[in-house]
Amino acid sequence: MSERHLSDAEHRQGPSEFVSADAMGATAVAYLVTGPMVFGGLGLLADHLLGIRGLVVLGILGGMALSVYTIWLRYGMTGTDPQGSDESRADTTHEETL
C-alpha cells in the first residue's frame, strides 16, 4: 500500500486547474454582477429623487468599471505562480490564491 504514503510534495499540487478556474470564474462573476447592480441601482434611485435621467446609465457603466478594476486589483497583478507551493499560500491571502 505504498500509495497511502505519498510524500507531502505530492499532496501539494493544489486543486485541479480546471476546478480552480471554475471557482475563479464564480468569484469574478460575483463582482461583475454586483458592480452594475449596486451602482446602477444607486443611479436609478438618484434619478428618481432628483427627477432627472441618465444617472442610471452612469451608475451601470461606472459600477462595471469598478468591478473590472477590483478584479484586476485582487487577481490580475500577482505575478506569482498561481499553482504556488503550500508555504507561499499559507502567508498570502485568498486574493492571490483564488
Binding site: 486543486p15 471557482a23 464564480a26 477590483t70 490564491t97 483564488l98
Partner: protein
Amino acid sequence: MSMAAALGGLATLSTASGDSFETPTPAIFYLPIIGEGDWAITEQMFWGGVSVLLLSLVMVRLSAKAAVVPTKGQWMMEGFYNFARNGIARDMIGSKDFLRFVPLLFTLFALILLNNLFGILPPVMNPTTGRIGFPIAFTVVVYVVYHWVGISRKGLGGYLAGLVPPGLPGWIKGPIWVLEFITFFITRPLTLALRLFGNMFAGHMLIVLFVSAGAYFLTQGIVFQLLSVPTFIMAAAMVLFEGLVQFLQAYVFTLLAASYIAGAVADDH
C-alpha cells in the same frame, strides 16, 4: 430551452390524433410524500436524511477499526478524506489554519457529492440538491462560518475595514468598499447556492427530457420508434455527463467555501 421546444413541437406535429408529448416542467421536482404545499415532506427530504445516515454508517464503520495496515475499505476512505483534507482544505487555507476547518469541508464535500450523485443513482434518480432548499442550507452554514471566523479574528470593525484591498487612493476606497461589502455579504453566497442548484436542476431536466421523449417515441409510428434509439443513447450520454458535473459541482462548492474561509483567516497586509 429551444431544444425542448423543438422536440415538443416535433412530437405534437406527429400526432394529430391521440395524446401529444409533454415536455418535462420544473414540476417534476416537486415530489411530496406527506402533506401539501410549502410544508410538505418531500422525497428529496427523505433521501437527504438517508444520505446523512448512509454516510455516517459507512464512515463510522470504515474508520472504527482503523489500522496501520488498512483494509481495502479503509484505504479508499482515507484516499477520499485526503482529497478533501489536502487537496481542498490545506491547499486553499494554508497549513497554519486549515486543520480546524477540515471536518466542515469534508462533511460538505461528502454530503453534497452523494446528494448530487442521487441524480443518477437508482432507486433515487433525482438530485436532492436540485431543490433550492438544500443548496441554501449548505450555503448558510458556509456563510455563518466565514463571517464568524473573520469577525472573531479581526473584530467587526477590522473585518469590515479589511474588505478594501490596501494601498488604494482615498477617493476610490468608498465605492470599492460598497462593492466588496455587497459581494462578500450578498452576491457570493447567492452565486454559491445558485450554481449548485442550477447545475443539478438543469442536468436532471435534460435527462428527464431525453428519457421521456424516447419513451414517447416508442408509442408512435415506426419512424419515431427508430428515432427513439438515438434519443435513448443521448439520455445515456447525459447520465454519464451528469456524473461528471455532479462530482465537479461538489468539488467547486467545497473549494469556494474553502477560499471564502481562507479570505477570512488571512492576515492583514
